[in-house]
């Protein structure tokens, strides 16, 4: 940008915007791509991180599992705003997941918010699994891509929202900047410094471009009214009452199931006949989820949701709502009756989550997510290489360039190290320790902080190489650690054909090989004297 605005054409101004949004928000975006990608193997990782869970068996009938979940909730949280019971997922962990939402505190009441009840139950006994280690599992890992960690949720979603909006800008400006998308797609000039990094950045960006566009836009759709509340405010006003008015116009179906409590006690109707009605409509095993709103109140409601059909881009497609005091059917959604805007938003959210995906597509999702990380990482490195190559022979790099160079090491190579440490912590922390789930995550962030620090004290080229070796070792040795600490290692899972568990070990092994290959390549391209000169000058020689 010149003193009087942009003198150059569209490409110049868009290059400027692309470069700076990418640099400033690159860290958040890299973190989002890496942690978010694990969401596509949520079930597999969750199972791996709870090695004490029993092997897969035949499941009891749906109504039995629902009854057990409701019974457990009634016993543990009789006074609740809502109870939720989810049937075991099709893949991985065979557990009935229950969630009790406490009644909200009256306004201006003192005291902290009551804790929700969140448990995994054994489908055959209805009791929590005995002796299963506490872990944040895949949940905590992938949820960080939108709620971060150590930061209040309400703040985190706005940080993530701003990063996502600028990701959107970075994609659009990147396309404008990039004239020859098709030709450049087949261009890679290795070991040519800045050119190679530009080619790598272009390649990773263009290869999964449709994925990046959809994943970014749909990410915004999750928090539509948080990020762009003005139309809502203009139509309905500001505040809780206004929000309720809008929801009643937009989500009438869901509102049937969520009336205000009457304040009069009334016993809850037996659940089994309601589940039987749902199964009579949809078929056995089709119930995915049950909610009891205002249990024990005269305005109790029971909502039952059908499983989304596999391979179809729908969400929450069918549900039944019953009166919770007499079992009368109050409402049944008819599929295909949603308004166009709702269908569009649902398709976007379904595309983002990828829950519909078959195994092959799931791998493509995972690979595209990691390509996103590679896109951000190569962009960050390109920023430094470009500036370093412009330096004259005797010119010392400016402080900002040296800072970004060092910071990049700890960010780009440090985060994979930190994620590997999360899995190591899952196996190594004492199994009965109460705070172990929290410390798994602390371990991740401590490792990341150390990696950032490490990048500032070592010569840059050395720091890159050593951190990739660390990532290679931590991922590559994970299957061995698993074999040493559990009995769900490759030696038992491969002969049993348990691909859910084996795939986690095998993917860790592949990641170890990949990081090892990167470290090996850097070794070849940083001759000893360059490294020494680098150390003497305190500058990087990654290019």
């Amino acid at each position: 940008m010149s003193e009087r605005g942009f003198k150059g054409g569209l490409r110049q101004s868009m290059t400027w915007l692309h470069t700076w949004t990418g640099l400033v928000l690159g860290v958040v975006l890299y973190f989002m791509f890496i942690t978010g990608s694990f969401g596509y193997f949520h079930d597999e990782i969750d199972r791996w991180m709870r090695p004490e869970l029993p092997a897969r068996t035949a499941l009891p009938d749906t109504h039995q599992m629902v009854e057990r979940g409701v019974a457990r909730l009634a016993q543990r949280m009789p006074e609740a705003q809502a109870w939720y019971v989810s049937m075991p997922e099709r893949r991985a962990v065979q557990a009935v997941s229950i969630y009790g939402e406490p009644k909200p505190l009256p306004k201006q009441a003192a005291g902290s918010e009551p804790e929700p009840l969140d448990e995994l139950l054994d489908p055959t006994t209805g009791a929590p699994f005995a002796g299963v280690r506490a872990t944040g599992g895949a949940d905590l890992l992938y949820r960080m891509h939108y709620s971060l960690h150590y930061i209040p949720y309400d703040v985190a979603i706005y940080i993530v929202g701003i990063a996502t909006m600028f990701m959107f800008i970075a994609i659009a400006t990147g396309i404008v900047v990039h004239k020859k998308i098709f030709k450049d797609f087949f261009t890679f000039r290795p070991a040519k410094g800045q050119r190679s990094w530009l080619d790598a950045h272009n390649l990773s960006s263009v290869m999964a471009l449709p994925f990046f566009i959809v994943i970014t836009y749909s990410g915004l759709v999750f928090y539509t009214y948080e990020y762009l509340p003005s139309v809502k405010w203009a139509a309905y006003g500001v505040g809780e009452q206004a929000d309720k008015a809008m929801e009643s116009e937009q989500y009438a179906d869901f509102k049937v199931a969520e009336p205000e409590p009457a304040g009069r006690a009334a016993p809850l109707v037996p659940i089994t006949p309601l589940v039987a009605q749902a199964e009579a409509r949809w078929g056995a095993g089709e119930v995915a989820f049950l909610m009891v709103r205002n249990p024990g109140d005269a305005h109790a409601r029971v909502r039952i949701d059908r499983r989304d059909p596999p391979g179809q881009l729908t969400r929450r497609s069918e549900m039944l709502v019953f009166d919770g005091t007499n079992g009368a059917l109050l409402h049944a959604t008819t599929p295909g009756r949603s308004s166009g805007d709702q269908v569009f938003a649902d398709v976007m959210l379904a595309l983002h989550e990828g829950l519909f995906a078959t195994p092959l597509l799931r791998w493509l999702y995972f690979a595209s997510g990691l390509l996103g990380a590679a896109m951000v990482a190569t962009g960050l490195v390109l920023w430094t290489t470009k500036r370093r190559q412009k330096l004259k022979a005797d010119e010392r790099a400016a402080a900002d360039l040296r800072f970004v160079e060092r910071f990049n090491v700890g960010i780009v190579a440090g985060l994979p190290v930190a994620v590997a440490v999360y899995f190591w912590a899952n196996r190594l922390l004492p199994e009965q320790w109460e705070a172990r789930a929290q410390w798994e995550m602390h371990a991740l962030f401590i490792a990341w902080a150390l990696a950032l620090l490490y990048g500032t004290v070592r010569p840059v080229a050395r720091a890159w190489q050593e951190q990739w070796w660390a990532a290679a070792a931590l991922f590559g040795l994970l299957p061995l650690l698993n074999a040493a600490t559990t009995n769900i290692h490759l030696g038992s899972t491969l002969p049993a054909g348990d691909w859910v568990l084996a795939s986690v070990d095998l993917t860790a092994l592949a990641a170890g090989l990949l990081f090892g290959a990167i470290a090996w390549r850097l070794r070849r391209h940083t001759p000893r004297r360059a490294v020494e000169a680098d150390a003497a000058e305190g500058r990087g020689a990654l290019a």
């Binding site: 940008m1 003193e3 009087r4 605005g5 942009f6 003198k7 569209l10 101004s13 868009m14 400027w16 915007l17 909006m165 959107f168 800008i169 659009a172 400006t173 404008v176 836009y217 915004l220 759709v221 539509t224 009214y225 990020y227 762009l228 003005s230 139309v231 809502k232 203009a234 139509a235 309905y236 809008m246 116009e249 937009q250 308004s339 166009g340 805007d341 709702q342 569009f344 938003a345 400016a398």
Partner: protein, 101 residues
């Protein structure tokens, strides 16, 4: 650009343009989306709830385009004018038409 060219004035230019891109583009996006929602509702194409939802979903795309426009416009004064004048027009038009009912 060499480092000597990065003056204080230049930094203010960037800051002001960034403010224009963030606040000005948000104002323009909001006003245009509100107008669209009002038009959809009053013309009977959609009920108010779906119209508000649909216009907001389109708003993210408008916002992206507005930010790019803000960074492409030559002078800073024009940048602000380009965003705020259409925003004011859309806003007052939406207000004049109203949601009805």
């Amino acid at each position: 650009m060499s480092r000597r060219a990065v003056t204080v004035a230049y930094r203010w230019q960037v800051a002001s343009r960034t403010a224009a891109a963030v606040l000005g583009a948000f104002a323009l996006t909001s006003a245009a989306s509100i107008l669209l929602a009002v038009l959809l509702t009053r013309s009977g194409i959609a009920a108010r709830g779906p119209a508000v939802h649909g216009a907001t979903l389109l708003g993210f795309v408008l916002w992206g385009a507005a930010v790019m426009w803000a960074f492409h416009t030559r002078s800073l004064a024009r940048t602000w004018l380009n965003l705020l004048v259409p925003a004011a027009l859309c806003g007052s038009l939406a207000w004049a038409i109203g949601w009805g009912g």
